[in-house]
Symmetry: C2
Subunit: 331 residues, 2 copies
Amino acid sequence: MIRGDLIGKSVILDGTKLSLEEAAYSLERKQITLFEEGIKLELRAFLKRASSILPKFELRFLVFKDIRDRGYYLKAGPLDFRVYPRGVKSGTGESRYIIHVLSEREPIAVDMILQDLELSENLKKRLLYAVVDEEGDITYYEIKRRDISGSAPPVELSDSVNGDLLDERVMIWNDSTLSELNERWWFGRLIEETRLQLSFVESAYLIEKGSLMLTDPEGEVLNLERFIEISSAIEGNFVKKYLTYRDLRDRGMVVKTGFKFGSHFRVYEEIPGETSYHSRYLVHVLIDDREVRLPEISRAVRLAHGVRKQMIFAVILDERVEYFEARWMRL
Amino acid sequence: MIRGDLIGKSVILDGTKLSLEEAAYSLERKQITLFEEGIKLELRAFLKRASSILPKFELRFLVFKDIRDRGYYLKAGPLDFRVYPRGVKSGTGESRYIIHVLSEREPIAVDMILQDLELSENLKKRLLYAVVDEEGDITYYEIKRRDISGSAPPVELSDSVNGDLLDERVMIWNDSTLSELNERWWFGRLIEETRLQLSFVESAYLIEKGSLMLTDPEGEVLNLERFIEISSAIEGNFVKKYLTYRDLRDRGMVVKTGFKFGSHFRVYEEIPGETSYHSRYLVHVLIDDREVRLPEISRAVRLAHGVRKQMIFAVILDERVEYFEARWMRL
């Protein structure tokens, strides 16, 4: 058996440097023996030592072991590990993934996600988040920037329509463009063929396009600014939701509420019914643009997977909207 | 056509009082005409008037109309409406449900849920939440108190075991009770048949039962209080999660992480494998015990439904834990 020595933050073995994870893995498989300052370290003692030397060692080792046990070769950096395609060892080929090891418990910074995405694009590697739950089970998510768009025609009404603002909804009555708005562009919900009920994001969009004259109960006509003020008082996150809605509509997609799926929007790439009624995406806006909790991502991805949709998260950056997909991944 | 008059908050019709929702419904079906101080009100004008007279009228009318259109009779109170079984009209039978009309957008008070549950139990009616999303679609949830329990035997170890606290997990080594803990009571996760990794809630439970001697990296033995302190520093909500975990275990259930399902716990009614490996419940602890957002409930219920589990929410009341189920309901 080869002897290794724990020196500083690595193990020296026959003149080669092993990471602590590599050393623990070999030690567990009884391929090496380990010493620190002449004293032999068994696995239990070594894991304790390594945990105290290296932050996150315990999480990293769980992931290292899981990936090696699945038959992949991996080595340290640039986030936590690079993983090579099956059958490829370091030095003989290119790595395919970069892996960031995360604990289910820590909220993660949205900025970190954006930086990781940039890094993975620069390196031309796929980005995986290995999320360790409290029992040590690991779920892998592939994170990918998405530039989604669709083929729905831009909204162009010949005339603007008139609407009433009720409590929390907007109603359009007896208007010739009413069924056009609904059938052609999938705005609102038609009630008894006599009136069209619009959501607040839909109404804001039509006001901004100059296609809706909206009157409040006192008879005042509401411009976009005033309407956004009213909407924001009812729903604190209205502005971020609206910016995302507008961006998605402008990208040629049909956007409806995702409430039943626990996301902000369900999104169709074309007018529903032309070739299918299936919304391809669920889009959830990261309202808190500083941090996000992993159980939230897990829940959304799981739900989207169950209904055969892609889970997209939207981040608002100075009024620009960026999208990234999170996808459950079997390594 | 019968003539009705809008007076105050109701419509008087042939000497009978109609609620505003009933009046709007009849007006829409052209069964009545409506006047206010001698001036005729068409549907559009009446809906605007009613919205300004009655808070939540617009939401209530959406729900009233939806339920009537499904062929049920309903009338006002005690929350928003009582609904009668199909074929039964008020006066000729007992109502079956009490309905609370809620907007997807408002956070709801946990206290309100508990009060609604109490009311429904006192009245011996089933409680439904009619949640109106931003497009006016309605989802019905039945809310029910649940007194769940299981048949897993209480944890009794002949000897206490020794464990190491690593970063975020606890490891037990070479102990004769190791596989017993894992196989008999489903604690932890067995690694390479040599060590058992426990989650923090499991560790706290075993410490409290006097079955685990836990040592930190400096060799200090940790009592429950100290361990909870450490765990809470890593995970802010640890205490509430632990109180729920302990209560569920004490009720004879096997409790494992629900991370993959976006909930705190998945819960088995018996030791998995005895007759099945299916966890019957997902349990999510309401960490904020003041209010909860409906999209969160919607998401959890949808996900649970998709994996054929019952969605249970736990509320901590002075260290006592109460459970209620939320179930998607087709009226």
